[in-house]
Symmetry: C2
Subunit: 377 residues, 2 copies
């Protein structure tokens, strides 16, 4: 991946080029080794709404092959990775590229309006009622607090943990630790969530190369195994009991079944902490704790270094940044480095099994696209 | 598919619902039979830039499964079909849905600007120079005329043929035949192309259900075989000698190799006639005639009923309409009906092998995404 941040002067070309070379070099692959490519890109906030994938690939000389842009709101990156995985599974290809790229700074007012007015959801049904992401998560926070006694401090501590993790990650957009007090005193956004409970707008790109076990032998890079690639979409029902996501549960269940593993086997996880409260409910939906115990998990430091699983060692969306289409792939970059033992100061000791959870879009409060992947060193 | 047209009062929900039920009923399938779904949707002209696929699927009760939106400009629909095909090839699924949906009428001025200013291409490199689709095809027409002696009348005759075909298609947006004189007298758009050389803006949706050979036995519908599914993207080079598309040639070559067939075996084809001149160059790139002979092919009535292959019996984009993400899937709907012998007044007699060509996006004048599929009765 490339360092996430605000790069008003860098376009799709430049960010894509850097991430793609990073992936090629990491794998010991050349542009001509890539047989098919999938790109996660939302594009709503970009002046390149189409063809961003081809433009980026062209910069490194990846030409002529099938190039498919995947858009599934904030879940685009992992959706692209999963389709690249399916392409390998098909036997038609044995080297596939998954990447994600997003340009979000320098949005026009019109683009802002689209993003704000249910752009990631169902404008007709939800946008018209003023539903949008941070509003939904604000309600979820209240529900979780009311039902399970989750405290404002517990919720804020997710931001504290992830900003601390991010301070150890040179690729993170925000490298400064924050305190619970600072989170609670930051600018109100959607009660009870404040500015430091929310991930930022970011520019960024990330890339991963998938190979069949046989093809892996042709490259010098250190591969990790994909044990599971699961995807699910939402349903009508919004369980109001503290923001249960049936979609995440279903994707996780599939991933655990595919891998023959359970939540207790996960050493390290990157989850979609678009807002602090989200990470707490994800703990529960992914099975890292029982329903309602997410607040306690963060309070007791069980998801930071020394706990298990360590969640968002990269800093997560909150600190590392959230360039929509790149996020799902960047999570995978982090897990790959962790499983290789190459994460430096933020290395999770002995990490052997890693999980990523990335999702996007909301329909009736549940995910439009959720992917869960499990990897083995 | 649903009849293409201008439906300012119908949203993504309503059009999607109708196309999806049409496909399910045609196949003798129920919503719960669908295991994974791919949707072609460009969305730039819609007020539902994301989640359109999930919203449409929800209307017919297709829930919880992986839903992937594919965007590759005007090639989105066939790209979605090909990824559904790959999903079947992977062995992970044996029933997959490919559909396309697009809402283009009621565009805002901002959306119009995006569409016009290189929205389907590379804004930085091409959009900034004023390159956009009809401009490129206008130049291609001049090049073809200069190099091969193709006449204005030959080019206009593509519109005449396709509007005649469309007049036999109750699903076409424009059902009225036109004459060469009317095409040449219509409003100038990009010299030498006039209004009747251009496809319209359309609203529409189309859907197809893909199954493994084994799973096909579970359904009552009449399947056709997918013999080839090929995809390619563009290169730096724009051959200026009459708008040769290397990308289309490459996709066609792959499709012919996969199927063990050649252009001489094709009985009926739906090709991407976004502009009249495009159909003429497609003849050449797909191998239906030699380079430079496309004009003669249309002049001698060799691509209408009685000729071989019959090209765009549906009326093509010019007459049937072009709701971007739906187009590639709608082409496949037409070919399926043709191969079943169920196309009524526009039936191509004895059609046994059919081809679709759909593409979108331009980079340096060549396709960003081109898919060629070959089908057998």
């Amino acid at each position: 991946m490339v360092p996430f941040g605000k790069y008003p002067e860098r376009g799709i070309r430049k960010m894509g080029e850097e991430a793609l070379w990073n992936a090629l070099n990491d794998a010991g692959a050349r542009p001509k080794d890539i047989q098919t490519a999938y790109c996660g890109n939302v594009g709503v906030a970009s002046d390149t709404p189409m063809m961003a994938a081809q433009i980026a690939l062209e910069q490194v000389g990846i030409l002529k092959i099938p190039v498919t842009r995947i858009e599934n709101a904030c879940g685009s990156g992992s959706n692209a990775f999963r389709d690249a995985w399916l392409a390998i599974q098909s036997g038609i290809y044995d080297v596939a590229l998954a990447f994600g790229i997003e340009k979000m700074t320098k949005m026009t007012m019109e683009q802002m309006k689209i993003m704000a007015s249910g752009g990631g959801g169902d404008k007709e049904m939800e946008g018209s009622m003023g539903f949008f992401a941070v509003g939904i998560f604000g309600m979820a926070a209240h529900l979780h607090m009311d039902k399970y006694g989750t405290t404002r401090e517990q919720i804020a501590k997710v931001s504290v943990k992830n900003h601390f993790h991010g301070s150890l990650n040179p690729l993170a957009q925000y490298g400064k630790p924050v305190t619970v007090e600072e989170v609670i005193a930051s600018r109100p956004i959607s009660d009870p969530l404040n500015m430091l409970d929310c991930c930022p707008f970011s520019d960024g790109a990330a890339a991963a190369i998938l190979v069949s076990p046989e093809a892996a032998k042709r490259f010098s890079g250190t591969p990790v195994r994909v044990l599971a690639a699961a995807q699910a979409s939402g349903t009508y029902t919004m369980e109001t009991e503290g923001m249960v996501s049936e979609t995440i549960q279903r994707a996780a269940q599939q991933a655990y079944e595919m891998s023959g593993l359970g939540p207790e086997d996960i050493d390290v996880a990157e989850v979609h902490d678009c807002f602090t409260i989200a990470e707490i409910t994800h703990y529960e939906d992914l099975g890292f704790c029982k329903r309602g115990e997410g607040g306690r998990l963060i309070e007791e430091d069980r998801t930071t270094f020394g706990g298990r699983p360590v969640v968002n060692p990269s800093g997560g969306l909150l600190s590392k940044g959230h360039p929509l289409g790149a996020t799902g792939v960047a999570q995978i970059c982090e897990i790959v480095q962790q499983l290789r033992g190459k994460s430096g100061k933020r290395q999770v000791e002995g990490a052997r099994i890693g999980l990523t959870h990335n999702g996007g879009g909301f329909r009736h409060g549940d995910g439009g696209c959720t992917c869960v992947h499990i990897f083995e060193a």
